[in-house]
């Protein structure tokens, strides 16, 4: 029992210190800021600011300030701050306005993710219709400003603890599954080595020259096997065998590289790094990917089917990687530029039944809303 407890505390504080710290600070901030009879707004606001600052320092690791990076952090920062205001604001009209801010910055994120049609739809429907209706009801129902109910919360401590435990575990799982920073660093090194002119330069890029670049290859194998090490119990047997195979491949390539280095054969070495790049991409692909088996027939009307591999594979997969319309620079599949046209095609081919159902739902909701809000007694009066 005690041993379990100490293990749990070490897991929280040592292994996942940053996540725990940010979640705990955020918990304290939201708890202090939630409306209560005796509210300490200043301490809460200071804590919230500290949380945001700390999270910014821990999360923002962009070394290049491209427009995309700046816009992403600006939009998500505004969204998170406005979300916090929505939850802690005691005046409901202001809460509705900060919800509008959340919606607008979400639309910015949509635009960054190549979804202009969704951006326009969300602004029109949420900011234009839903929020206005909310404000309308608010003004109808609450003409005397802030009421007593708005100055109290139901169980603020328990609610904040629940929310931040969920947040902490979500962030932990995200970091565990998608945290590929080490692999990305190794991938960048590999690409630099591939572009180097001579074998000696390649060796310099890899570092640890005297030991035969042992450190690079050990780190590479470790990064590839990360999935297996971290979730040793839970990993699917398929995933385990993939990462083991990739690690073996990296070991083979290491011996080929040592051979090429001895013979000073630049072309052969370059081929080694090209293969190593493929191994790294494939390993990154196998992290936290749930995708349907590749032999299932799937519709290709909404873009490349979901069971198509994301990255070029090692050669054991017969599918051509060119079918993915991939972007050379970013390594991501491209989305069609005519977003609206393709979205329409996807809606009216793959999702036709769902479109019909959504239309029916809208009709039913309209009729229902009118039937509910109708004053029955007044017709006779």
């Amino acid at each position: 029992m005690i041993a379990n407890l100490t293990r749990f505390i070490r897991f929280l504080l040592v292994d996942n210190g940053p996540v725990t710290l940010v979640a705990a600070l955020g918990l304290a901030a939201v708890y202090l800021l939630l409306p209560r009879p005796r509210n300490s707004v200043r301490a809460g606001a200071a804590l919230a600011g500290l949380t945001l600052l700390l999270a910014g320092v821990l999360i923002v690791r962009a070394n290049v300030a491209t427009p995309e990076v700046i816009l992403f952090y600006a939009f998500s920062g505004i969204a998170v701050v406005a979300g916090g205001l929505l939850v802690t604001q005691s005046n409901p009209a202001r809460a509705a306005l900060s919800f509008a801010l959340v919606v607008l910055s979400t639309c910015g994120l949509f635009l960054l993710q190549a979804a202009p049609f969704l951006m326009a739809t969300t602004i029109i429907i949420y900011a234009g219709a839903i929020i206005v209706t909310f404000l309308f009801v608010l003004m109808l129902a609450q003409q005397s400003g802030v009421s007593d109910a708005d100055r109290r919360s139901r169980e603020p401590l328990l609610a904040a603890v629940t929310g931040f435990i969920l947040l902490g575990s979500l962030l932990y799982v995200l970091n565990l599954s998608y945290g590929t920073d080490d692999l990305d660093g190794l991938l960048a090194t590999t690409r630099r080595a591939k572009d180097a002119a001579s074998v000696k330069e390649m060796s310099d890029v890899l570092g640890d020259v005297d030991e035969g670049n042992q450190a690079f290859f050990t780190g590479f194998r470790k990064a590839v096997l990360k999935e297996q090490e971290k979730v040793d119990v839970g990993a699917e047997p398929e995933v385990r065998s993939v990462s083991q195979k990739l690690a073996d491949e990296a070991l083979n390539l290491q011996s080929v590289w040592l051979d090429a280095r001895q013979k000073d054969d630049a072309d052969k070495a370059r081929a080694v790094f090209a293969d190593l790049e493929k191994v790294a991409l494939r390993a990154r692909e196998s992290f936290a990917v749930l995708q349907p088996r590749s032999d299932r027939p799937m519709s290709s009307l909404s873009g490349p089917p979901a069971n198509l591999a994301l990255y070029p594979s090692l050669g054991d997969d017969a599918r051509p990687a060119a079918a993915l319309r991939r972007d050379e620079a970013t390594g991501r599949p491209k989305l069609p530029a005519e977003n609206t046209a393709y979205l329409g095609r996807a809606l009216f081919t793959d999702h036709l039944l769902a479109v019909e159902l959504a239309g029916t739902l809208l009709l039913v909701a309209t009729v229902g809303a009118i039937a509910i809000a109708h004053r029955r007694g007044e017709r006779n009066a």
């Binding site: 960054l112 109290r152 603020p156 979901a306 959504a358 909701a365 309209t366």
Partner: protein, 142 residues
């Protein structure tokens, strides 16, 4: 140069979702509760759009479109219900409806009194300066 990776978008979605959940659990105004629920829907929409970009596939965006549809329906019905509840109790406070709670559950009572609302600022008054001139008795000039 790498673009913003997928899991950063997922993290933003997670933060918004959890804030919305806290708002839904803790706030007592019906409208703020529904705003929090809408914010949770927005968080999920961010996730779906990020996955659509990641896979180069429009299924995620289509799904988001349906989320928006359902959110619009939900808002219409919810606001009608809120109006109905408001008409019968005269307040948007959700804890007025706690007699619908499960049997054997203790009711929540507000024990701590609210601080008195801040006093209204007094209207500005001009300070009298000098001596008031004597008014003449009103006389009729008929």
């Amino acid at each position: 140069m790498n673009p913003i990776p997928l899991h950063h978008y997922l993290a933003v979605g997670a933060v918004l979702f959890c804030l919305g959940m806290i708002g839904f659990l803790a706030r007592r105004n019906l409208i703020v509760m529904f705003l929090s629920a809408e914010m949770m829907l927005q968080a999920v929409a961010i996730n779906l759009v990020a996955f659509a970009r990641y896979r180069g596939n429009l299924v995620g965006q289509t799904f988001t479109l349906f989320i928006i549809t359902v959110a619009a329906c939900e808002a219409a019905v919810a606001l009608a219900l809120i109006l109905l509840l408001y008409r019968s109790k005269g307040s948007l406070d959700v804890s007025l409806w706690q007699d619908l709670r499960e049997a054997g559950q203790e009711p929540t009572l507000d024990e701590e009194p609210l601080p008195p609302p801040p006093a209204e600022a007094p209207l500005p008054q001009l300070t009298p300066s000098g001596v008031e001139p004597r008014r003449r008795e009103e006389t009729s000039h008929v």
